[in-house]
Symmetry: D2
């Protein structure tokens, strides 16, 4: 098991290496009858494209997706949707040197330990290009969520030490379209112009020092019905955590207040319920981030994912080669000094995939709902 499949009912299986023929995903369990074409997916893929600013790799990749199966006359058929993005513009010579040693912060050493050897070209399967399959699948998941009135808003919360000021709840209180516009306006996908400016300066400093930066991606989900997620191991929180930590370079995950909640008190952290003017049950605050006991409570989901700094840096580093010698290296080539902006859509994609699966799994939770479904 190479662990390339994710999900229970809405399952995605990704494949592909940085310098192989291509990268792809098989989406199994997309419902029949969903309008879908390549543009729906390409729109998502374009959000992870490099080359859009000086903070991302100057490689030019078209990353044009093709739908190979599962769509007929513009609609999904219910059978597996196979998506492929052919690799182009690979320059394997760039990577010939790194075959002989282990780059710090990369999976070179662990792949060799696990498999005895590795496809060293561009990181092989541990390349950031592996996320193409996730994003393509996430585009389909997001479209399913859209038909159910569920919306995802994902952006960069922090780059290095530079963080936006607004809390998730403050952002949710703003006009959605305006926020989206603000996020798209700057290449760092930060919803605050001021923070984006400071982050830009910070990154320029990093580049000058042949160094790199990490950051935090935040994802807010509105419109999620209450009752989604299973009470024990398949908690919504648990599967979202797995989804996020399965992305390369991710080192931390939080729901709602996350680690800050651990320093709070019950009285401050509990979200009190109250009846809205329309008579529905709501929460006065959302420290929990949209779940209680692992099940959605009808308020917005708030997830936060921490990315480590890009490990590929031009500065001198110590490491070892395969002959067992200590050596010094400088990693040349086309690398992002920060991957966070490009990871925004990856986080959104994995969240979407996880939520669709949870929604489908939940459909048999009540006998009366099952009866209503099958008896006319």
């Amino acid at each position: 098991m190479a662990g390339s499949t994710f999900g229970n009912i809405f399952k995605i299986t990704t494949w592909g290496e940085s310098h192989g023929r291509g990268i792809g995903v098989v989406v199994d369990g997309a419902p029949a009858g969903l309008a879908l074409d390549e543009a729906d997916i390409q729109k998502y893929l374009n959000r992870r494209k490099p080359g859009q600013s000086k903070f991302s790799t100057p490689r030019r990749e078209d990353d044009a997706v093709e739908i190979l199966s599962g769509v007929f006359e513009g609609k999904t058929t219910g059978t597996p949707i196979s998506l492929i993005v052919y690799n182009q513009n690979q320059n394997s010579k760039d990577y010939s040197e790194i075959a002989s040693y282990y780059r710090p912060g990369h999976a070179d050493y662990t792949f060799d330990m696990k498999y005895g050897f590795r496809d060293y070209r561009g990181g092989g399967r541990s390349s950031g290009r592996e996320t193409i399959g996730r994003v393509a699948a996430g585009a389909i998941a997001a479209k399913i969520l859209q038909t159910l009135g569920i919306t995802l808003l994902t952006y960069t919360r922090a780059i290095g030490p530079v963080e936006i000021k607004a809390s998730p709840c403050e952002l949710l209180a703003q006009n959605h379209a305006e926020i989206l516009a603000k996020i798209s306006e700057n290449p760092l996908y930060m919803p605050e112009e001021d923070a984006a400016g400071r982050a830009r300066s910070y990154l320029e400093q990093c580049i000058k020092e042949q160094n790199s930066a990490g950051g935090i991606v935040e994802c807010l989900v509105t419109g999620m019905p209450p009752g989604i997620g299973e009470p024990v191991f398949e908690k919504l929180d648990a599967n979202l955590a797995k989804a996020m930590l399965s992305i390369g370079a991710v080192k931390g995950f939080e729901m709602g207040d996350g680690f800050a909640a651990s320093a709070s008190t019950g009285l401050a952290n509990n979200d009190m319920f109250s009846i809205s003017e329309q008579g529905s049950v709501g929460k006065q605050t959302n420290h929990a981030g949209g779940t209680l006991g692992g099940i959605s409570d009808g308020s917005a989901l708030i997830l936060r994912t921490a990315f480590k700094p890009t490990p590929s840096i031009a500065a001198m580093q110590q490491t070892v080669n395969k002959s067992g010698e200590n050596i010094e290296i400088q990693i040349h080539g086309r690398h992002d000094p920060i991957i966070v902006p490009r990871a925004v859509v990856v986080v959104e994609a994995m969240a979407a995939v996880t939520l669709v699966d949870a929604l489908f799994v939940n459909m048999s939770a009540r006998i009366d709902a099952v009866q209503k479904f099958y008896l006319k």
Copy 2:
């Protein structure tokens, strides 16, 4: 799917509610030939027992485990091991009132939304007693790890705002037995006496104010061979994250430096490799927390899990009842002002279960190893 099964090859299935007949787990995939008796499991369960200090609920629960299957003549047979702890000392009357309203911070509301009604006695399936099954299974997993030279060290890093000073690496540098002794000495399971003292004062203040506290549990794993974990969705990090976020009240998870890494730089965060005096490959630091690309790198695993404050507090809170009215409540009864010390063993158990599964899944990663296994 109520999501009560965890693991791919080493699978655990838990069941049971706070006030039903009992709580249990079926462990499927424990290898045959492991010496195992009830004392091995009871030892673990005793670590999550309440009533050991004034900071945990005064309920007296014996929580005596019985092995119902899968062990013959003192050894596991390879078939499912069914473990049960009968519930005792339940006082359902304590909970009759809460049937009518939704406790803030609890899963009452979400269970009702999902299932249409709920077993309201003591939290039902969302009770902390649900972790008994996890801990019992974890005891078996830990015994398997022990036979492979893999050791877990788990303790309270923080209670509310009070945190220990030593870093994971500093603790790992100390004598293991001494650290273990220090952790066991205080009822809060903190490895630093000073911090434990301040945490105790903080908790006393919480109790006085009818409030509660959260905290952070840290787990360090040594002896893990390199190469464990799968490269994409079944990353060791991903499954550990899922394991931790599947525990009730957990809101955050970190590997290694976690969120702090996101504010660091590549140069500072990359763990440089070097050749040890014995000629083996090692890392000079361990910011990554023991994995690279989701696969263990031979250094210690470092995991950190954030628990929110106990939601059951005696202070006045606002909420709603099932008739749709805003009400004020005070939750009486026997509740822990802090669950973190009792959660230490739950974290350790879930980590152990996850690691055993990853070790078993990895066994077919290389054709030469498979051949060596099957050909004589």
Copy 3:
């Protein structure tokens, strides 16, 4: 993985050995709100009880089931339902001799090869008592099917060379209650009195010769909506086949005409469609046994399962002992000369479990149905 879990969404996990503390099952994914008590399950378990005729073992087992979790105030809660039947009346001494050798036709040798040793008492995990968990879970599944208007009719088609005359379609044309009554009237569960008489004589002859018999169980399912089952690996036929071949002593499985279809022609075997008087699509015949392309077509499901003769016989047999010597043995003790009548309910249970899972998995097959489910 000891492979003790079955199903995708409606999952059952069985455990227990013949001479351990008990036998049980955890049913995860039963919808909330289903009325359920122990009598519902006991009714099913009673159908597999031994001691009801001279053709089944004279052991007296009460096999009283207890519900340990997942039911509150008479209804399922949506959380795992743990069921247990304590073992009673075990006489371990009966089995002490067989520890040293391998009984022909039993799993003694293969368990030793796999696990290095075995629980030799009464077959351990490979005992027929393992089916108690399946039947208990099947009782819940059958109750779910009943609420959806789906009915199972299961009976003995053949015992040794004695087979009933009526075809499945002929039986389906008869009055359901009368057929059920006929089946229950004779201890062999054959729906034809005449065949039952001849089978009885045949079995008496087998007993006299210290020999045993096999047979065929047939299961007919009516009321199944069309569209259930997935098109490729999760075909309804495929999962039913797995369900049946997972029962001990089963050596063959057929849907509809089964092997006979392979000798037929397309023209004779194709079920032609026609419009019924009510205007609905139906088939003029049912050679296929209720599925097309692995998906239910609205006609009755017809499944047939072949059981080998009971391997435990009193006649002299050759075998080997663990010291590597050829020996002769006679197996004494309380054994059924035929297990088929007791297996009827096991087949029905496994069919029910498989169908419930397929029904639940199907609920997200169409986007319009998903939208109708979630949007009000």
Copy 4:
């Protein structure tokens, strides 16, 4: 879940329709270090190619496979192997008429019932071309088995009423290379020239009558170590049954004597053990077909799979159209009057995939083996 993934550890995920861009499979869990190139897979695919005799469709399909990922420098890397066969030579016009009605014996009606509509071109996902993915994956599985000394021999046992005479055990007693040659000599893949001749005459008669035939495929596996397969739901028999019944047009499955065993007696059907001259435990007969209690016993596996006659026939048939009218149809186009010879390699492929998975799952069955694996 469209159910397009098969296996626990060695997982295959297939996708593609008859008239889409192509057909493919992702093989996840193939061990690293296996020598593999496209020729290894093409060799298998060529065995299912049409156009090799007048008994298979005259369509010309090159079905050239491409490896898109998972292989580097001629060896598998341990990461997912994505294989694709582009569709060529599709003539969608051939199928335009059948969009309006339901072909008897096909999945047209059930797909419409499940999904609301269907890709009607050439059967879409329910086309026989779906098996290309299975065969491509099976080629990899078979290569893994080969490195472990496990060999599969698969052939046509029967075509319509014409069956070969030799029993599986008689065939196993013959020279393997000679049998293989005999099978490959005739386009029907029957190991007996005489039977092949009569089958040819029978098929010619079928064609003349615008009719079609079914048949039986038998697969024999030698070299399988004892101890493989799990004792309850993951019995080797159960997974093989699922594998076979998941192939389109399959209606029955048997292990060893199968249905014939149900009419036998315990004394006749039990395989007695004896010590071989080399001192190893063996069975004197093999009625069981290589398993006891669902676990391999070291003797040859014997599986038999029944295929119904090709449903596409040129003779006049009654059916209904989507307007709810009774109509008469004649199916024109390029169809096999028998699919059995082309299905031989599909059966072999699915058997190989199932066995590799069972071998990998078994690796953690014993604690001493796990220790030996991980401790040096």
